[in-house]
Symmetry: C2
Subunit: 154 residues, 2 copies
């Protein structure tokens, strides 16, 4: 079983970033069991509200009760990269598995917000969710190099 | 003459992000005269220190004395996206041209730090400069849609 996962809905809209996500998945995976868990986008013609609910349900299905769920949230806690690595290391040691969840353009359902064990903010700025995904992957990679004391490969 | 520029050294190492940079250049350019100004990487076998000095010189050559120079710096000021758009709008109205400078992996020379009119931080976290470039472009695009009251195209 992987130790860290990111969970998000749909392939990256930018083909360019989709490839880069896979690169980071490999890079992180060489340090710690890691996987990007992709939730299929629903093709149903739902209202935004119903879409969020449906996506939320599918995300929760992918999460087990032991998972430490970290939700990316603009109003969450900000860390610098060093403190983030300390935080992540602590959670690695204390949890069975860590699941980072990045919402869609419209965010996440209330059920996900309630299930979240922790809310993390990457910046005070609002990032497009496609960009947030890459930023998060780079931060996980960076944190793992700090935790393991290995070289950061650009 | 463009009203806003970003200045950085060398093409994006990730071909994927290089294409995305060009996409954002087009998207922003449709709202305000905008250009990514690419400084050629020196191929000389310099020490890191000398490399920074050389890159710094080339960056300064590209900057005119009227430019409002905003340096991306981890220790700079953080904004949320809305306040950043207000800040940017003010500088657009008050300056001939705005030049955002993103350093290389090793940062920027002291000369650039001294020339900077403002230091901006995108996050408390340390971003790879390749990622910072994309994040900055998205924020400039987002700010311009807020300033002009137009739809944000994902």
């Amino acid at each position: 079983m992987e130790k860290i996962r990111t969970i998000w809905v749909g392939k990256n809209k930018f083909k360019a970033l989709d490839n880069l996500e896979k690169d980071y998945e490999d890079k992180i995976g060489r340090i710690i069991p890691f996987k990007i868990h992709l939730i299929q986008k629903t093709t149903k013609n739902y209202t935004e509200d119903k879409l969020l609910k449906e996506e939320g349900k599918n995300i929760l299905k992918a999460v087990s009760k032991d998972d430490f769920l970290i939700l990316l949230d603009e109003k969450g806690k900000e860390f610098d990269s060093f403190d983030f690595s300390k935080f992540l290391n602590e959670k690695i040691n204390l949890s069975k598995r860590i699941s980072f969840v990045v919402g869609s353009f419209s965010g996440v359902s209330d059920e996900i917000k309630q299930r979240a064990n922790f809310k993390l903010s990457l910046s005070r700025m609002t990032f497009s969710n496609y960009i947030a995904r890459i930023v998060l992957l780079e931060q996980i990679y960076r944190a793992m190099t700090l935790i393991k004391g290995i070289e950061y490969h650009r």
